[in-house]
């Protein structure tokens, strides 16, 4: 009830009245071009001088996105002992949900402000610019993938593995395969989440305008589409023939949209934690999910320990974001949103700083993570897969990710400094690449 009232309250004034925080507008309005050059305009907000708490960067988003990126790196190394300790070992969902949800949330937070201050055209331009960056990153990863597969297959060539070597079939028709990759229809293993993100961002301008107009106008169709996918199994075709998008965008859009709706809401009214009344239900769902999923993980290691409801619930569909995943993820969002306040002191400690930095440089860290996990897998399968090597690969990978995030952060801060000093007059220089 409480929630529903808030939604309607929000929808009404949003149409006519400007968003609540005037100070924030001034800040962004003063530096319109400045934000343009930055990946995420508010990333600087928290760092530059005192700002009212409601406008401070929500470090929880960075922290959990950073954590998700580290987990994605770990989970993407097949046969990795550490994957027994990541999210998917004790929850029905995994880091992909965290990543997509927070991406929707921050996108709405960032571009929602642009939309309010600088208008729809500029917000659209910013979103498309970001989409382009993602697209280029995806193509870059794809080229590396092609190099890896073609090298392996042409040097290997053992007839015992004829079936396996079909993995390089696309090399027989590069004219088709490359075009399909450019069209995002060719998604080799592990190169499947960026296409989803790219597609979601392409439609995001429309989504954002709709959400601003009336959240339900977007949320209801989005939910209905999700339900249709669950009911009749719609999917999006991919290359080669017979393939579908691994992350079905028709289903995953709902998670992104909900994230965006919540993020946009945040740009208009003071932040408030989820209603207290929901916490108990959410805790129960998270607890039950934890027990069941953990029992499966333990069952996978020691057979004599039973896998609870294994026959009934398994497999939990990831492609179409099965309701079991979605419900337990949303419950976790409520739990985290309620129990981890934005002002929590630990968010500013040195211990979580590396994760926060990773979350702030999400695109670079994601791409690097994919590369490092491929490299780590290569090392493990080529040389040694002992537990020691596995741990070593994980530790080195995580350290490299964190150091890279630190370096990018340093680079961006340095690049910003002279501009910050002469912000009033130096906008022209900020425009140049």
């Amino acid at each position: 009830m409480d929630r529903a009232r808030r939604w309607t309250e929000q929808a009404g004034p949003g149409l006519t009245t400007p968003p609540a925080c005037a100070g924030e507008h001034r800040r962004t309005a003063v530096l319109p071009l400045w934000g343009w050059l930055r990946r995420e305009a508010p990333s600087a907000v928290g760092r530059e001088g005192p700002t009212p708490p409601s406008q401070q960067r929500d470090l929880r988003l960075d922290l959990f996105r950073g954590l998700a990126l580290i987990i994605i790196f770990i989970d993407h190394i097949p046969e990795n002992i550490l994957s027994y300790f990541t999210l998917q070992a004790f929850q029905f969902y995994d880091a992909a949900e965290v990543f997509i949800f927070i991406s929707g949330y921050t996108a709405a937070l960032v571009y929602g402000r642009t939309l309010a201050v600088q208008g729809a055209f500029f917000a659209t331009a910013q979103i498309l610019r970001r989409t382009w960056q993602l697209y280029v990153a995806h193509i870059f990863l794809f080229v590396i993938f092609i190099a890896e597969v073609s090298y392996t297959v042409t040097t290997f060539n053992n007839p015992m593995y004829n079936d396996e070597m079909r993995v390089a079939d696309f090399l027989e028709e590069p004219h088709v395969a490359i075009v399909k990759a450019l069209l995002l229809q060719f998604q080799p293993t592990f190169l499947d989440i960026l296409p989803l993100y790219i597609l979601l961002l392409v439609i995001f301008p429309v989504l954002l305008l709709g959400l601003r107009l009336q959240p339900l106008l977007v949320l209801i169709p989005s939910f209905l589409l999700y339900v249709v996918v669950q009911a009749v199994g719609l999917s999006v075709p991919a290359y080669p023939e017979g393939h579908v998008w691994y992350f079905n965008p028709l289903a995953w859009q709902f998670l992104f949209t909900v994230g965006a709706a919540l993020g946009l809401r945040r740009t208009r009214r003071p932040h408030s934690p989820p209603p207290r009344a929901w916490l108990l239900t959410a805790l129960i769902i998270v607890g039950i999910g934890f027990i069941i999923r953990l029992s499966w993980t333990i069952h996978g290691i020691w057979d004599s320990s039973p896998g609870l409801f294994l026959k009934e619930l398994w497999p939990v569909n990831k492609n179409n974001l099965a309701p079991v995943r979605l419900v337990s993820f949303f419950s976790m969002v409520i739990v985290v949103g309620s129990l981890v306040p934005m002002e929590a002191a630990f968010l500013r400690t040195a211990a979580v700083k590396p994760l926060i930095l990773c979350g702030q440089q999400s695109l670079e860290i994601f791409c690097l993570g994919i590369l490092l996990s491929a490299l780590g897998h290569f090392l493990l399968s080529e040389y040694s897969s002992s537990i020691g090597t596995q741990l070593g690969v994980n530790v080195v990978g995580v350290v490299v990710l964190c150091l890279t995030a630190k370096m990018i952060d340093w680079y961006k801060t340095m690049g910003r400094m002279p501009r910050a000093a002469g912000a009033a007059g130096g906008r022209g220089s900020a425009m140049s690449p």
Binding site: M160, V167, W302, N317, K318, S381
Partner: protein, 256 residues
């Protein structure tokens, strides 16, 4: 009937399987070889707790036994040069030795490059029509290569299993082949995991070929990756022979 077996379980989660196998090999298995030459694997990898009731009954009665092996290129055995060198034929040889009183036929229905779903579509003509008492289903490779949706893969497996169970035909599933090179470019893990879990849910024996071949590779019994051109066929023949023998051993264990 104890259906849960540690070997199968560790296979379901290959990461730990590697770890367990490594520890096991280091501390437990090495001294206890049964002296079968290069095909040896740790006992852990040959633990069979599922039963084959229909085959068992047929053998006890001394009636002719027909086994159908359906699978991909590694079932066909073309890499070894002749169907007689493929693992189904080796399986038949081993079973003939152990059960000389019973006429046993192993039919090879390998067709390269097929997904589980495509094999399932061959069931009426290639499997049911043969009227076997046991079906050995080697699958998952092409599904992993093509990145078939995990749910579709699981559904195809379940469809095949249901078809066979309905007709009181025993089933053994065989998972993928291992090589370091292919493992770097193909994500087998999810498919291995799914295959083993489907086997478990249906109380079937899943022959851990992937883990066995990994063991041979790690022990330098066979080198799957850097093999010279003129040695390739004989390597394939030796590996298929080991697979056939181990399958026969697994069947004998299941019958006990």
């Amino acid at each position: 009937m104890i259906r849960r077996c540690p070997a199968a379980s560790s296979m379901r989660r290959p990461p730990l399987a590697g770890a367990i196998a490594a520890v096991f090999i280091a501390f437990v298995a090495a001294p206890g070889y049964s002296g079968e030459g290069q095909c040896d694997v740790p006992a852990e990898l040959l633990r069979v707790d599922a039963a084959l009731p229909n085959l068992s009954e047929r053998l006890r009665a001394g009636n002719p036994v027909k086994i159908v092996t359906i699978g991909g290129a590694s079932t066909t055995g073309a890499a070894a040069g002749s169907p007689d060198l493929a693992y189904p034929h080796r399986l038949q040889e081993a079973l003939d030795r152990w059960y000389p009183a019973v006429p046993i036929t192993v039919v090879n229905k390998g067709v390269p490059r097929q997904t589980a779903q495509q094999m399932l579509e061959r069931f009426p003509s290639d499997v049911i029509a043969e009227d076997p008492v046991l079906v050995i289903w080697e699958t998952g490779t092409t599904d992993a290569v093509r990145g078939v949706e995990i749910d579709d893969f699981a559904a195809a497996l379940q469809g095949g299993i249901d078809k066979l169970k309905m007709r009181s035909i025993d089933i053994i599933l065989v998972d993928m082949q291992f090589s370091r090179s292919t493992a770097t470019v193909i994500d087998f893990e999810r498919y291995l995991h799914t295959l083993h879990r489907v086997g478990e849910v249906n109380e079937l024996y899943v022959f851990p070929r992937f883990e066995m071949m990994r063991y041979w590779s790690e022990q330098n019994v066979f080198n799957f990756d850097g093999v010279a051109k003129n040695e390739r066929a004989s390597l394939a023949a030796r590996v298929y022979e080991c697979i056939g023998r181990k399958l026969a051993e697994a069947i004998r264990l299941a019958l006990q």
